[in-house]
């Protein structure tokens, strides 16, 4: 089972390594969002710490939508997805590989974006900075796991690029709230983010399980 997952993952990573479509477009898009937000809010001092967490999370969220749409659009070309559906392998492997690949892409974007972010918002982290290494991956996983699932769900509809954010964002809202509040409390050092980290963890476990269980149904929907 892990062998198939590995094959899917290597394939997705190789495609991305050759084209660098997803990471580049996400990176530029996220950068644009960060610049736009700093232009419209003129963040300085304590205020920049208050909003920085929210801006980072929302920028990641908007940016990831473009990559998530790409993830399955590749499979549609040349009827690859139909071939995948006929292959005698569990769909969950393909799903999990896609989630892992996209998780890596979004994480790369965040790692590159973070220094830019710190500079543009004049940030000085007042809380435990290492907790960010817990919050951001958990939040990203929530976004990417649900996003990959809903991208697969909306792939065969008309105007699918439009549909994905419309169905993903409402479901993602509690995780976004937890992510924003946890990042905010780490940046300002005012409160303890433990509760929000637990909520994110719970959200990840619940929705990853449900996605894995229901993915076969979505893949074979006819």
């Amino acid at each position: 089972m892990t062998g198939i997952l590995w094959v899917h993952l290597v394939k997705d990573l190789r495609i991305e390594w050759r084209s660098r479509e997803a990471v580049n477009s996400m990176l530029f898009f996220a950068l644009l969002v960060v610049v736009l937000f700093s232009l419209s809010f003129d963040p300085q001092g304590a205020f920049s710490r208050d909003i920085a967490g929210g801006v980072l999370c929302v920028a990641t969220m908007f940016a990831s939508v473009s990559a998530l749409n790409q993830a399955w659009a590749r499979e549609i070309r040349h009827q690859v997805l139909d071939a995948q559906r006929m292959a005698p392998t569990p769909g969950a492997d393909m799903f999990l590989a896609k989630v892992l690949a996209n998780f890596l892409f979004v994480t790369v974007v965040q790692v590159v974006l973070a220094p830019v972010f710190v500079v543009m918002y004049n940030l000085r982290i007042l809380g435990d900075a290492w907790k960010l290494a817990l919050v951001l991956p958990l939040g990203t996983w929530a976004l990417v796991a649900n996003g990959t699932f809903f991208a697969a769900l909306s792939i065969r509809s008309r105007n699918r690029e439009l549909l994905l954010p419309l169905i993903l964002f409402p479901i993602f809202m509690p995780a976004l709230l937890a992510m924003v509040l946890a990042t905010g409390s780490i940046l300002t050092g005012d409160s303890d983010p433990t509760l929000w980290i637990k909520l994110l963890l719970g959200y990840d476990i619940i929705f990853t399980t449900v996605s894995l269980l229901l993915f076969e149904i979505v893949l074979h929907a006819e």
């Binding site: 769900l153 509809s157 169905i167 809202m173 149904i217």
Partner: protein, 234 residues
Amino acid sequence: MKKLAISLYAAFTVYLLIRGFHQAIFVAPDESTMHEIQRIFYYHVPSAMSAFLFFAISLVGSIGFLASRRNQPEFAQRFDALALAGAEVGVVFCSVVLVTGPIWGRRAWGIWWTWDARLTTTLILWLIYVSYLLLRRFAAGPQVQTLAAVLGIFGAIDVPIVYMANRWWRTQHPSPVFFGGADSGISPKMLAAFLWNIAAWIAWGVLILGFRYYVERQSQKALAHEAQQALDHV
């Protein structure tokens, strides 16, 4: 016979609605602190309860569809119609809650809106089910039923998480009036008006649900008929 029963039920619903209106506006006593504006309670809370009831019906429809779509396609179609009708009626009730809430809040709290646990939860619930209806509109073809059922289940799982998240975040909405502890409960006359309105609005919702279910079934049958004719011509 069937038409007579439906007409009788519709007439009964209208009677309940009139009775509920009379009870809420003329019979129920004036509330001591909020006065007349408190009467919106008889619409706000029953609508909220109905919204949850019809979303639950939609969830039952979604699960039923997924469970029976392989073995009993005929049942699955019924479940699908139920899921769609439940979601639509639920969205209507949820919209009523979201409209009456701010009107009440403006008088009682002095503000139209606040990002409190229950308000935010209701708003997100509304957004989730509107996105469900959008999916049904956008996705074409027979797979839309399966996809919508999956999204319906996702939405239903999300609701308790949204609620807990917002509850930890902040709370301004009053704690539950019923079963909420020692101070909860309302005067008997208010309770009577409240119960009449719950009965009336649920009866009305079931009536609309029935109509919507019927319309959806007709359109399913028309589609199936068209497909069959196309096959026969080949």
